[in-house]
Symmetry: C2
Subunit: 250 residues, 2 copies
Amino acid sequence: MQRYFVSEQQMSLENVLLLGDDANHITRVMRMAEGDEILCCDGNGRTARCKIVSLAKEEVSATVVQWLTEEKELPIQVTIAQGLPKGDKLETIVQKGTELGAHAFLPFSSSRCIVKWDEKKGKKKVERLEKIAKEAAEQSHRQVIPTIEPPISFKQLLAKAKQFKYKMVAYEEEAKAGEKQQLAQLLTTMDAAQEMLCVIGPEGGLSSEEASQLQEAGFLLCGLGPRILRTETASTYVLAALSYHFELTR
Amino acid sequence: MQRYFVSEQQMSLENVLLLGDDANHITRVMRMAEGDEILCCDGNGRTARCKIVSLAKEEVSATVVQWLTEEKELPIQVTIAQGLPKGDKLETIVQKGTELGAHAFLPFSSSRCIVKWDEKKGKKKVERLEKIAKEAAEQSHRQVIPTIEPPISFKQLLAKAKQFKYKMVAYEEEAKAGEKQQLAQLLTTMDAAQEMLCVIGPEGGLSSEEASQLQEAGFLLCGLGPRILRTETASTYVLAALSYHFELTR
């Protein structure tokens, strides 16, 4: 059944109002009619099966048939702090990371980032990433849309990291040196509902100085197996490993 | 250090000859000079550190400095049987799957495949995928280039599956039904150096009849967590879970 995220204001205990792109998707793309059913999520984890009662071009009304108890969210709330990558890779990272259950994305710039964040275009870019996250959350049947945070500097990242008890950085040099223990050890110390900050460097990786600063700030330097992963693959590895560990082996 | 795969004929115990694209990459892209070092892999798992002794546009010679003992390959040899996806997704699947350690890729067509394999263009397409696999294997520091097999029918896939003792299919309906045990249970029964066949459906998924036929052929129907993954994300999940299980928790 097709799934739509709506704001809390659009959704009461009995009724849902779908607007704009969502209404358009229902009428034009899915070509639904009165009586057809959809799933509506308020983005805070509440999902209802709803029946369409009226359709207009920019506004679709539905009534709640049944509130559902679902458990689609990764038990650990992971924030992916991603070194700004080239081209449209950040879009791929947000799309795949959303499918795999990430809780938030926090782009950051570091010494080896080739890309500079354009403040002027920045707001539009964040909006585009939010749209990608919303669509991927709907497609993957999630109950929550991940947050896209505006990019910060490496220094701001270190400050922000203080909010997190559990934090790791995927570090290529550790992988090359054969580090194989840290990630699994970290996960065994964690329980469901805890938060984790996962730092992934940009294409050129993190400098050894940046890695040291993260380590001093309490990050575990983790290898992700003996192969060297591209920056856009590292977050998918971590999220899949977390899902396997917390959702499939427990 | 830059890594190049060469054929066995190009590599003796003492010398290596790099040709064509590789020679071009060394001279034009990397702008290397005599005395610079590279890593050469024969694709059968043997890697040597080599020193360049002469450079020409289409031919670079190097001498072996040291044979290396590396262990970069996933302990389980996984063949990803991928339902033919739309657009250039097969390229993404081969690139990411190679980084994550896949042993071979076997595209297949099934009832819900929208894409038809064009026999005329097919050979060129396989060659393109082989080039993507080679480059991804070099970039990710692998010792073996995954094989790209020409596409087969679903019926041929069932016949081919008889060669494999361990086989699984990522099945969306199982994920929706909350199946969470099969993949982890399968992995705990496996040992290093064993082979596994992993079937991933195309965008529209596998039909329930196809899933039944696979189950009858000895496949385990596995859920990959409660979220619904896109076809190109499913193989990355399985490979990352395998790496986590066999490389990071042992």
